[in-house]
């Protein structure tokens, strides 16, 4: 009996120790202080540590789909993206490394360096906010691999379906203003970001991701160093306290937790810039064909695409009732000029209303009223055409080894009874 008593006591003590040790790091993980954390019930392990519930951890809608939990990769479903400005609860999460902990915004520094900077400079967050004019833009950010799940033969990586895209409202300072404040040499070609997230292997010499963009993109009005998303501090999982935001380009250019931007005199060669990462064959290849690294080209502007966000697929309606559909369309650096839908698998197309974008690189909202001639199974297909006259394909676009840039038409199933 005495043994049981001693055993129980030791178990309690051990729990207590583990609890105290994890409380501080836990607070940073969930991005908020645990009020009364020290009074937490004995034997109670914080949910996020014991059995992580990503929906609570990141304030996500329960219908979001977890593709990967180490690193965290979570996507939306089309009907969750119905809002004109995507709320945090429906924004996909893409991580290459481990989510950082212990962020202290007061001591956060952004360094501008590189071969092509005139004067290496460092700014605090407060300096960035006070020194430079602030701007707010709605920006479409889509993962380069959105739609990867459909490629055949299958492409390597997280098997995104259609929910790795969002258009939130971002507030920050122009990257251009900051780069120009430090000074840009004439030989500048590219910028590369560096951030504090750790590599999955925990190797401190490796960066999880360090991508960038050519100078012309870096110097655009809409390319921001953002500290607010939808009017509030950026949530930790989306890059708190500072995120590079480059709308219309693969989301991997929009580096999270950024603490250094290098102005390079060559194409940036950081992690996930080289090899096959965020690259497609420079010349089109047959499905499954091997492509050498040197024949792969960096993805820049994303292709034209659209999503039907209402109704959710699977709607059953009564014969004679019209169906109102709506959604969003975007076209990378370009604008969407035409939006159509088809209920006969592309035999005929009807025009949708399409709004102008709120600002350049924001997605555009479309709507239409669909009438079905008779009862039966239908699919409503949506097709956007960009300002160069290039439309979404109905079948999969060119196969590529990593399964990027699938902009095939989105469709929903409808039954008319």
């Amino acid at each position: 009996m005495l043994f049981i008593l001693i055993y129980k006591l030791s178990v309690l003590k051990r729990r207590d120790f583990v609890k105290k040790a994890t409380l501080s790091s836990f607070a940073t993980l969930i991005g908020t202080e645990l009020v009364f954390g020290s009074q937490m019930l004995d034997g109670y392990t914080p949910l996020a540590l014991q059995n992580p519930d990503p929906f609570k951890l990141f304030n996500k809608n329960k219908e979001m789909v977890v593709l990967n939990d180490k690193p965290w990769n979570i996507e939306a479903q089309a009907h969750l993206l119905d809002d004109k400005i995507t709320p945090n609860s429906s924004m996909f999460i893409r991580n290459n490394g481990l989510v950082p902990e212990n962020i202290d915004p007061k001591n956060w520094m952004l360094t501008i360096d590189g071969e092509s900077v005139k004067n290496k400079k460092t700014y605090t967050l407060a300096e960035l906010k006070s020194k430079f004019e602030q701007h707010t833009y709605q920006l479409t950010i889509e993962c380069g691999g959105n739609g990867r799940a459909e490629f055949d033969p299958p492409a390597k990586g997280n098997q995104w379906t259609s929910g790795a895209v969002h258009c939130a409202s971002w507030t920050g300072v122009r990257l251009r203003d900051v780069l120009e404040n430090a000074g840009i040499k004439n030989n500048a070609i590219y910028i590369g970001f560096h951030a504090i997230d750790r590599h999955l292997s925990m190797d401190p010499t490796k960066e999880a991701i360090s991508r960038g963009c050519p100078m012309h993109k870096a110097l655009q009005d809409e390319t921001l160093l953002a500290f607010k998303m939808n009017g509030k501090d950026i949530p930790l999982i989306h890059g708190y306290p500072l995120r590079l935001v480059a709308g219309g380009w693969p989301a991997s250019v929009s580096g999270k937790w950024v603490n250094r931007i290098s102005i390079r005199n060559k194409v940036h060669d950081g992690a996930k810039m080289t090899g096959t990462a965020y690259r497609v064959p420079c010349k089109s290849v047959a499905p499954g064909e091997k492509v050498k690294d040197e024949d792969m080209c960096i993805i820049e502007s994303m292709p034209v695409k659209s999503l039907i966000t209402y109704p959710k697929t699977g709607a059953k309606i009564k014969k004679g009732n019209p169906l109102n559909i709506r959604g969003h369309a975007w076209a990378g650096e370009l604008e969407v000029h035409k939006m159509e839908y088809s209920i006969d698998f592309g035999s005929t197309w009807n025009t949708c209303n399409i709004e102008k974008p709120t600002n350049r690189l924001a997605w555009q909202h479309f709507s239409a009223t669909v009438n079905f001639p008779k009862v039966g199974y239908y699919e409503v297909w949506a097709r956007a055409t960009d300002s160069n006259g290039v439309a979404q394909p109905m079948i999969l676009p060119g196969w590529n080894p990593k399964g990027y840039l699938n902009n095939a038409c989105h469709r929903i199933a409808v039954k008319v009874n």
Partner: protein
């Protein structure tokens, strides 16, 4: 009152006292024994044992319905080699959702060794790749699949 009656009264008083003492002893003793089994019983601030039950020695490699619960991987030849070599840096979810041929898995392993600090797998590489292509073979999808798993619902407008 006779002497004998007074004596009897004294004896019964002592008897009652002894019984009371005995009862107290039984209650205290019983309480102590109970406390030894349930040391948290008198600690009214601590509710841990009743709020959350913490399984102390759950088998972390438990398998149910052919699935390795901790990782979600299929129970088949090579399972533990895959668990021990392929779920340290990333989740098994990344493994399960990727369906590749043996050749492409070998290329992927080489890439992980060159860039992601994966160690030399030695003879385990064949076991791992065999496990993957047997249990997670690629599925033909063509240029566009039919819509499946549709969750039908009545749309009231």
């Amino acid at each position: 009152m006779t002497k004998e009656e007074i004596f009897r009264a004294h004896v019964s008083k002592v008897y009652r006292l002894l019984m009371l003492l005995f009862a107290l002893f039984v209650i205290t003793g019983g309480g102590l024994i109970y406390y030894m089994f349930n040391p948290g019983f008198f600690d009214f601030k601590s509710k841990s044992e009743t709020v959350v039950s913490v399984p102390l020695d759950l088998d972390e490699d438990r398998i149910e319905n052919g699935i390795h619960l901790r990782t979600g991987l299929a129970d088949a030849v090579g399972l533990m080699v895959v668990v021990n070599n392929c779920t340290n840096c990333h989740s098994a979810k990344l493994v399960i959702q990727n369906r590749m041929s043996a050749e492409r898995w070998n290329t992927t392993i080489k890439w992980m060794q060159e860039t992601q600090n994966l160690w030399d797998l030695g003879g385990n590489q064949e076991i791992i790749v065999n496990y993957l292509v047997t249990n997670y073979p690629p599925k033909a999808k063509g240029r566009r699949m039919a819509l499946t798993d549709i969750d039908w619902y009545e749309l009231e407008d």
